[in-house]
Symmetry: C2
């Protein structure tokens, strides 16, 4: 099928031909409503007029950046990788991925479950909502997704098949390489230059060669270390949540990269939220909940990753009988400790890039009071710098929490 | 064209249809002779009866391991990667790659320059021939090949295109993963079990968990670190040489892997040759020449790699203006030092695996006297162990030479 951009009317026509979708609705009285902040894509909520609780999401990529317009071309093939990642993650962990009703790489279209009773996690966290099951859920999601798409589990040919499927997600990887690892730390037109101009903190960051050299090391790893299939953009805006359920969406940046990148992205976003509550709400109880959550996420991630690994006897990496049990256990424990270290490094990069780079986070850039925003930025940069410079020397989760608490 | 296995007669028929080849010969009085030790493939020398100095090589892969027979299947697609690598390396460095006259992925066939005045380097070295231009040549070959196929030079999309071209060289990468990194260090049917049985040195190696844990770290890097396009099997049997020229052949193991793997393979083979001269010929002058050669190869490699890098201003990794010059220089120098360190590690693995694993080298396994062979093996394992365990702590080429000299 040839690609055609859908609108509110044609999306209904289009999906009405798909049996699985019509079987779900059990009626043909469908209506479409455009929703979502839609930076990149068009998102429609399709629902039944008679039974409005029956609803699905149709998401279609257009060959440009939607929020800017056709003058900013961006290949709609990004949806190809989103579809492949959703399917791959769904096969590993159906409970954390929305149900998929239809996908078409030709049409750059996915139709999936509408998460009507969930909110974007960033919003919930800013409102001080505690999600008590989150650390349990997200640690399962991350550990299973990373372990089961890595050479620690797969055979060599299975691993190479995943690389082949995602290797061409060039444009979005390049966006990360440029925007996350480079432009945000130097004078660049894409930055938030209203804030950068005459800002001594920004100048200090741009001249901090010790920090930037470490960022470059992490960028090189990002570009060349093929550990596992990553979500690629695992911030709290990519998580839909309520008290009992956690869904991870929007994996269009998916590619085979370093273990620590997703874990680091999540860590960065939880710390940014902590800073928001230090500077803005001053809600100490919620700050404490966030610290406990960070600790639980990282510790449960490590435990579960090791548990999955213990169930496996052979893989591309490990031939049974090669190491004795004691050495094997030590090797695995060191391996997972190194994932956490690397995650701290990536968390630092991710935090720092949100301060002056393109696309800030609501918790920092969204602060309207200039002085308070500057205070939040300063704390974020202090933590980010410690994370980036010392990530390979930080030996425990408690040390991470100390760095976060002491920066405020 | 459908694949068809060629023989001495049909190879002439086949290539007679290729204009470039017939233009080279300028006559149709061709004759074919089967040559080469031909472990994997069929190799024919095609020459003109009238002008026998006019000659080409036709090399064809068969879908099994030639030296064993059809009962050991091995995809003939390995020739696809050999062809692609020959072309890629030829485009970068024509002077070190034989002229290519014809390639066909369908036929798993390559027709190239016949190197009539060159010998296999391993043979020459065992005879004590000094190749005075070798360090200059091979350091250029390795530094250019690695630098120009890496993310230090290429754009993100160019790099990913190379990964796509070589990602499916699964069978040969798997051979290395198994035979080089695993089976050679444990009880396994593929080993030289006549020598392993009742050999306390073999038992010591197989139980050396400190060594084997480090090997596993290097294996993991081999499997997941996508630095540059590698030759993949750069031993002295893959080099054709004389006093004035050096050619690198047989890149069928080519894939995108860690920088240090090729450099390490070469280092291992030079050290193995050194051991041969310590134990068998006792030719001290040649031993000294080998040590100087090792030093020159590694130092020139580092210099040239940095020189190529200095000419580049932008790449997938480096955005101009991101680092100041002093930091950039330090970053690059550290980067290349780390390549050398990694090479030492891989050299250790490569040396150790030749002792008891499948496919030994002539310098060690070829020693007929049992006691002398055992002595050579012991020296090889001593050096290999130091290389593997301490590779990231060895800070200079002189330290490498000390380890080699002190082991004898």
């Amino acid at each position: 099928m040839d690609y055609k951009k859908l609108d509110k009317t044609s999306v209904i026509e289009h999906i009405s031909k798909i049996k699985k979708i019509m079987a779900y609705f059990g009626a043909d009285d469908l209506t479409a409503q455009e929703i979502g902040d839609g930076n990149l894509n068009y998102v429609y909520k399709i629902s039944s007029v008679q039974n409005p609780q029956k609803a699905l999401i149709a998401k279609q990529a257009v060959p440009y950046l939607r929020c800017v317009g056709e003058e900013f071309p961006l290949g709609r093939e990004r949806m190809t990788y989103e579809i492949r990642a959703l399917q791959k993650f769904y096969n590993i962990l159906p409970s954390f991925i929305p149900n998929i009703y239809h996908t078409s790489e030709d049409m750059s279209l996915v139709v999936m479950e509408y998460l009507g009773s969930h909110v974007i996690m960033r919003k919930g966290l800013m409102e001080g909502v505690k999600y008590e099951k989150f650390s349990e859920h997200v640690s399962t999601y991350m550990s299973a997704m990373l372990f089961y798409t890595s050479s620690l589990h797969l055979s060599s040919s299975e691993k190479r098949a995943i690389i082949a499927q995602f290797n061409s997600n060039i444009e979005l990887c390049k966006l990360t390489e440029d925007l996350v690892f480079s432009f945000a730390f130097m004078e660049h037109e894409t930055n938030d230059n209203e804030n950068v101009k005459n800002n001594p903190e920004a100048q200090k960051l741009f001249k901090d060669m010790k920090f930037k050299e470490r960022v470059l090391e992490l960028k090189y790893k990002f570009m060349t270390q093929s550990d596992a299939l990553l979500h690629g953009d695992l911030h709290t805006g990519s998580i839909m949540i309520n008290e009992s359920q956690t869904y991870v969406i929007d994996p269009e940046f998916a590619f085979v990269g370093p273990f620590g990148f997703d874990v680091g992205a999540l860590l960065a976003n939880l710390v940014n939220n902590y800073i928001y509550h230090v500077v803005i709400t001053k809600d100490e109880d919620f700050q404490e909940w966030l610290l406990v959550t960070i600790k639980e996420v990282l510790e449960k991630f490590s435990e579960k990753f090791l548990d999955f690994w213990a169930e496996d006897r052979e893989s591309a990496l490990l031939v049974e009988g090669y190491l004795d049990n004691e050495t094997l256990l030590r090797y695995k424990e060191n391996f997972v400790k190194n994932i956490i270290k690397e995650s701290i490094g990536y968390a630092g990069v991710k935090m720092a890039r949100r301060v002056y780079g393109v696309a800030g986070v609501a918790e920092i850039r969204g602060i309207e009071d200039k002085n308070l925003r500057a205070e939040a930025e300063k704390i974020a940069l202090k933590i980010a710098r410690e994370f980036v410079i010392n990530y390979d020397k930080i030996d425990s989760v408690d040390e991470i929490l100390e760095i976060v608490k002491n920066a405020g």
